[in-house]
Structure formats: C-alpha cells, structure tokens
C-alpha cells in the first residue's frame, strides 16, 4: 500500500509513544500521531495541550492548541499555568516539536533566520516550544530533512536540545535527565549518541539512501555500524489515518 512521507512520519512518531504515558501535543502531525497511538497500542496515552486541555477525546483534529476540540470531553479543562506547572513537576513524558533549524545537539530555532534585530525571515518565536523542550522528559522532533535546516550552528537557539553536549542541560539549571529523544524526518529516524549527545542516524526510511540523508544534513552525523530500515506504515495504520483520524486530509494531505 503506498503512502506519503507525512503518513510515514505520523506512524513512526505514534509508535514511539508508550501506553499510559503523557504527551504534549501541538496541532497537526503531533496530534495525528498521538491519536493514532491511542487507537492502536496506547489507549491510555494522556494527551495534554499547553493552553489547558487535559485528556480530551478529540472529535476532529483541532486547528489550534487552544480550540474547543482540545478539551472536548476532556478529563480536565484548566489553565496554562496548571498544565505548564505539572510539566515542570515531571508529569509530561513526551513532547513534540518542530523547527526551522536544528543543530547536532538537537537545539532548535523557531525564532529568526538572520540577525535578530533585522531578520531575513521572522518566525513565530518560542511559543510553547522552549517550555516543552525544557520540561518534558523526552522530546520528539518532527521536521523536514534539508541541508539548510540541519545546520552546524543555529541562527538563534530558541529551544534547548542538549545545548553544548553532555551535562550542559543540568549545568544551566534545566531539569535532570531530560532532552531530545528522536528526530523524525521525511528521510530517516535519528536519535542522540549516549556519550556525546550528538545526533545519530537510527533508521532510513524505505527507499532512502545513506547518501541522500548525508547530502541533506549540514553537519557530521554519527552513523552507527548498523542502520536499520524504518518499518513502513501498516495497512491498519493507514486505514485509521485516512479513514478515521484525518479523513479530510488536513494534516496528512490527500492520498498520495
């Protein structure tokens, strides 16, 4: 069964989410991945929205992180203070992030391209990204794999990854034992080396070559001896995605 890269990314992301854990989701792909996980293997995955919705039963994909779908038949509809506080207290395991730029340590830029005073491109800024990247136990980054996005040095460090390497997060006062967990792109799944905290290739998506990944990465990637191939979406996953979770194709696009 054919699928598009967005569908594959949604499936890979959803498989990372363990049951009976909690996840901060934004709109779009993260939301789709979280609902897919709930339908398939993580019925007790607790979905948390930064604007105050906790544990909703979303009827349709929300358009905004604060819209009424984010607390539809929820366990609790509360405040950003409440949600960010429980995240700071360690209750939120996973967080999804996107970015315009990423560096080898998983630090992210969503603020500016070019100088801050007079940017070439002004992006939205942190939003909740810095909070998610600071407070969740493990963040999962979803972004396009392009050379101009995977850079050695960010134009602006909006959201902390591993900063300058091992121990750096703890040294600046961020919560212990937290940090980026996976980077999922249209080409591959990447993780971070235990020792150096630098980005490491984990699996190539079907049909993607190692060269293609390296060409699209602007820094030196750690390549382990064994690189597996990403499991393609199952029929069940695709059926749910297209038939139930995002039938209008708002996020995953129209069938490829």
């Amino acid at each position: 069964m054919s699928y598009n890269p967005i569908e594959l990314m949604a499936c890979v992301a959803s498989r990372l989410l363990r049951d009976a854990r909690s996840v901060f989701v934004g709109t779009g792909l993260p939301m789709v991945a979280a609902v897919l996980a709930q339908r398939l293997h993580a019925p007790d995955l607790l979905i948390v929205f930064e604007a105050g919705g906790i544990g909703p039963q979303v009827p349709t994909v929300p358009i905004s992180v604060g819209d009424s779908r984010t607390f539809h038949r929820a366990v609790m509809a509360t405040s950003m203070d409440y949600v960010m506080s429980i995240a700071q207290l360690g209750f939120v395991e996973y967080g999804f992030l996107g970015a315009a730029q990423i560096d080898p340590y998983g630090n992210l830029n969503t603020t500016v391209i070019g100088p801050h005073e007079r940017p070439r491109v002004r992006l939205p800024g942190s939003g909740g990204a810095n909070d998610v990247g600071s407070l969740c136990w493990r963040t999962i980054i979803l972004m396009r794999h392009e050379r101009r996005r995977f850079v050695e040095s960010l134009d602006f460090l909006t959201t902390p990854g591993y900063l300058t390497g091992p121990g750096a997060r703890e040294r600046v006062g961020l919560p212990a034992d937290t940090g980026p967990y996976r980077v999922i792109t249209q080409l591959a799944v990447l993780g971070f080396d235990e020792e150096t905290k630098r980005m490491k290739l984990l699996s190539l998506h079907p049909g993607v070559s190692m060269e293609e990944v390296m060409e699209n990465t602007g820094f030196e990637l750690i390549i382990p001896e064994e690189v597996s191939t990403t499991q393609p979406p199952t029929e069940e996953e695709l059926r749910l995605l297209r038939g139930e979770i995002d039938p209008a194709g708002i996020v995953i696009g129209r069938a490829s």
Partner: protein, 330 residues
Amino acid sequence: MLYEGEGELLGWMDPDEARRWMARKPLELIDKRMPLSEAITRFARDGDYFALGGFGHVRVSMAAIYEMIRQRRRRMAIAAKTAVHDVDVLIASGVVDRVDCAYAFGHELRGLSPAGRRAVEGGRVRVVAEISNAGFQWRFKAAAMGLPWLPTRVMLGTDTLRRSSARVVEDPFTGRPICLIPACYPDFAVIHVHRCDKYGNAQIDGITIEDVELARAAKRLIITTEEIIPGEEIRRHPDRTAIPYFLVDAVCEVRYGCHPGNMPGLYYFDEEHIAEWLRMSRTDEGVEEYLDRYVYSVEGFEEYIQLIGGKEKMEYLRRLEMLQAELRAP
C-alpha cells in the same frame, strides 16, 4: 546574579508601586456597561503596552482590536503571548510598532503571517523581547500574586533567555541556576468572556488559559462579553466566577466578539474569513482593502458581522462548533 537577559523589560512595576495602583481601583458595585468604542477611547491609549485574553484565534476580543484600529491608535506595544490574527491586523494597520514576543507572526497550522512578517523584516516593527508561552503567563502570574518575579526552570541555556528580560540566579535551596521571570503589568488588557454581569463579574467556559492571571495583572481591564447576565446569576454560582468585578474597568456586550476566532461552546473558527485575510494581507494594498472593507467603513462590530455573512454565517459556525456541520477548509 548569574545572568541578565538583554530583552527590553516592558510592563514591569516595583511591587510596592503595583500595590499603590491596584489600591486605587474602585470597589463599588457600579454599572460598568458602555459601548466598546467608549471603553477603547477611555482605557486604550496611544503608546500603551497591552495584552489580550484568550489564545491564538481562541476567545480573543477581535471586536476590541478592530475598534482600536478604527480609532487609529498608534505606537502601541503588544504582549504577544500567543498572538495570531490579533497581532497581525494590529501590525498591518499601524497600531502596534513593538512586539513582546512569545508567539507571533504565525497562524498556527495555517502558516506564517505575511503582514506581520513583512513589518518585522522591513524594520517597521521591532521585536523588543523574546519569551516562551509558559514564561509569559508566569509573568502575569507573578503580577497577579503581587510579586516582582517568579522562578521557573524554562528558557535556561537558550537565546530565548538572552533576548528576554529574565534573570538567572543561584538557587539558595538547590545551589543550581534558576530563572527569574519578571512580573508583567500591562497598561490595559481586553478579555473576551462567555458572560458577565454589569459590574464585571465574569464567567468563562472551558479552559481559562492565562486569563485568571492576566485579569489581575492588567492596570486597566476591559471585558467584552457574549452576553450580560443578572448579578443574581453570578451569586448563584460564585465558584464559576473567573474574574471578579473589582478588577474590571469596562463591560462591553459584543455578541460574536471573537469572530473569526473560536468561542468555545458557541462558534468555531471562520476559516473562510481567516483565509481571506491571509490572502489579502500578502500585499500592503490588500491590507488596506481589507481594513477599508471590514474596519474603517463600518460603524462597529454588528455591522462587521453582517459583512462577514451575518446570522447565516454565525449559525453555520455554531453548528460547526457543535459538531453538527462539516468544516469547509479553504
């Protein structure tokens, strides 16, 4: 002190000064109803630093924003907590020239804001400080608590911190660095609510986002409301009061007041209208055309609602909200 952010510190007051300000707020149960145009004239001034309740396109008082544009406010600074359509039209219309930024220049899933980006990239508008969403609401929380700042564990180690007005100190309990986020008292705020009485006691359905805090932090507070209800109703369910009357300076009844945004339980996003703005705001001429059509040439918000499709459109958006209609995504 270990570190001091370089961002401009807007809205901070010494807590003693803040106390003096708040102590002057009148505590009488007086009828504060007035037309929105009067509230904006009286409480929203050129040069002010202000914040809007709600989040993104959700429960934001668009009526107040259009009124500020109509009254041609200038040189204002906005607390862009999670600002989308609001900051976009305020920048495009020349009302706002400084942005205190957690999130702006984007329309969430819908993409970036052409008008807002153009203004920043062209130098017409300055981003004076960066912060995170949690950080911004904790700035209001600090103010709401009468404190100079609140500690937090976000922002540390990043350029967001560097461009913020926060400071880092060594925590005397843990010995590790901790980030202190300064209180924020906007000159005024506008919060759109589901219902309130004529004194300003307000109820909000669903998530309150950061409005319970912002209401206390604002030096002047305008409430726009879908509906005005008797004070009796408020007193029947005092645990539903999100904003008590003594924080409030003006009460303005504006039905559909957050169109084209989502008012939880009442109406969903008007994606057609948002798309129209995003399309028109690609050029300065389009912006002028949009503002002429929907803001300058109308008397007030009721007329605007007629223009965007009137009762029929709002009924569709109500059915959309109640999951009784299909989203016509443009």
